[in-house]
């Protein structure tokens, strides 16, 4: 809002100062979680708090792998998130394509329903859904969880893809059909390749949404443990402390590190994705 050429040196310093405060407030807690995760359990409880451990160790991580089953949890998370995104994207593209290309009253009601259902909070449906999943034997199964994860990302994904599709002219598909493409051929070979940037953006945002999904695995699974719920279910160790903070921070850091890397790499696409959803949604 202030033209660049008129900016004085003190003003630049103020801006840098503010930016530094913001960066500090966000990054310092993350640094602290990291430091805590490599500090031996006994040393964690020192006063004043140490921001560099005297004897850094990977014990907490080893403990998580050996005694808490970290690797199976990572495996579960990968299977559920991976399949949810893959299947969810296929279903969303199909629906978005139909919504963007066909116009009947029934379909516009369906769009309205899909978007309105976004407003129904998880907690409102939790108990009946839990009972229903148990009765159809989908509770605590990969299938059940994947269906619920997909359901979570569907409305947002359809909304974004439909917006993108509306901007792609139908005439492209029409000319493909004149060249002899059938309906599905023109959808697969002409339209979907044009959607690629939108697909990438939505995939990236969905990846984070699924990874962070806490509600679904908390209430609809028990044996199948994923990373987001595992952090609240860590075992007490040696009965020394109320909460095993060393393990919590190690588990926290295992979840956070890939996210930090991911955000650093895909910063631009994520920004586009949330802006497209946020501004229009």
């Amino acid at each position: 809002m202030i033209p660049k050429n008129s900016r004085s040196v003190p003003l630049t310093l103020i801006i840098w100062g503010l930016a530094a405060i913001v960066a500090f407030l966000i990054l310092f807690p993350l640094w602290w979680i990291f430091i805590s995760s490599i500090t031996p359990a006994g040393e964690l409880f020192s006063k004043p708090v140490k921001y560099w451990p005297a004897h850094p160790t990977l014990d907490s991580y080893r403990y998580l792998i050996k005694n808490v089953g970290l690797l199976p949890k990572i495996g579960n998370t990968a299977i559920i998130v991976g399949l949810s995104i893959l299947i969810g994207m296929i279903i969303s593209v199909m629906a978005a394509f139909s919504f963007a290309r066909f116009r009947t009253r029934g379909l516009s009601i369906a769009v309205g329903f899909l978007l309105a259902s976004m407003l129904i909070p998880d907690v409102v449906t939790a108990r009946p859904l839990y009972d229903f999943l148990r009765s159809v034997h989908l509770y605590d199964t990969y299938t059940g969880l994947i269906i619920l994860y997909i359901s979570g990302i569907l409305p947002f994904t359809v909304l974004i893809l439909q917006n993108y599709l509306n901007d792609i002219p139908v005439s492209i598909e029409e000319s493909a059909s004149i060249d002899g493409c059938g309906f599905f051929q023109s959808m697969f070979y002409v339209t979907i390749p044009l959607l690629r940037p939108a697909l990438a953006t939505v995939c990236i945002v969905n990846f984070i949404t699924c990874l962070n999904n806490f509600f679904t695995p908390l209430f609809y699974s028990n044996g199948i443990s994923v990373l987001s719920t595992a952090i609240t279910q860590l075992p007490l160790r040696d009965n020394m402390y109320a909460v095993p903070w060393d393990l919590v921070s190690a588990m926290g850091w295992i979840i956070i590190l890939p996210i930090i890397i991911f955000v650093a790499i895909f910063q631009r696409q994520i920004m586009e994705g949330i802006m497209a959803g946020g501004v229009k949604g």
């Binding site: 066909f102 329903f113 907690v123 009972d131 269906i147 359901s151 209430f219 996210i259 949330i274």
Partner: protein, 291 residues
Amino acid sequence: MYASKKYWMIAWILVLPALLIRIFTTIYPIIETFHISLFEVKLLQGIRKFVGLDNYLQLFHDSKMITSIRFTAIFVVGSMIGHIVLGIILALILNMKFRGQKALRTIVLLPWAMPMVVIAMASKWAFNNEYGLINDFIRRFAPSFNLDWLIYTNTARSAVIAVDLWKDLPFFAILVLAGLQFISSDMYEAAKIDGAGSIRSFFSITLPLISRNILMLSIFFTMWRITSFDVVYAMTSGGPGESTALIAYRVTTEAFTNLNTGYAASIAVVLFLVMAVLSGLSMSAAKRVDY
């Protein structure tokens, strides 16, 4: 091209999987929620009988529930004031051109991308009096400072709001930034020629132009706050006492811990109706408020 009857079937087949999944996960359970809210269902005692609106009447006399509603209101209002005031300031910083602006925008995305549970678990420790990050930091300026944040009602509530702000305020700011970027720089140049300073042009140009954007964002963020659950689940477990039990947290404890399914359903219905009213308001606001 796609008008002919032949495509009618294809259109519905393409939509069907998405529709079925959403019906299965939202429509069926919400109807069931309405239904069981009329029953007294206590799974532990094996009770199930029709009681009409008794569950709803009970809501008004349940002191736990009143505490929950009061804290949810405090939480939503406190958090939203923070979001709007600090969010606009942060958005303005993010919108300025300076070296490191790109890095800052990436950093600001991080809290949004991280799971609330992890943040809430870490916060529980950060607010610990003896070994926590926050008091350690304060003690560097005031060495005799001593406060166990999470064991007193007011400080525990403030801590919950602070954590909520840390997690979502940057995201709010990014969305405000999206609105700021639609304002053309011509307007500021014109204002400058007319002799307006930067504060004047903020209040006369920036704020009016992003007000619609802020209003919409505030409604959505308010709705997310009303259904907030994981922050108190992982950080305070609703404590001390019941003082930080947000309504959404209360619903799940009644439904899954106390197994008062019918009563939980009646709270859920009220929550749903509040959301419905808010979304109705947001839609009429979107239509009415314009530049």
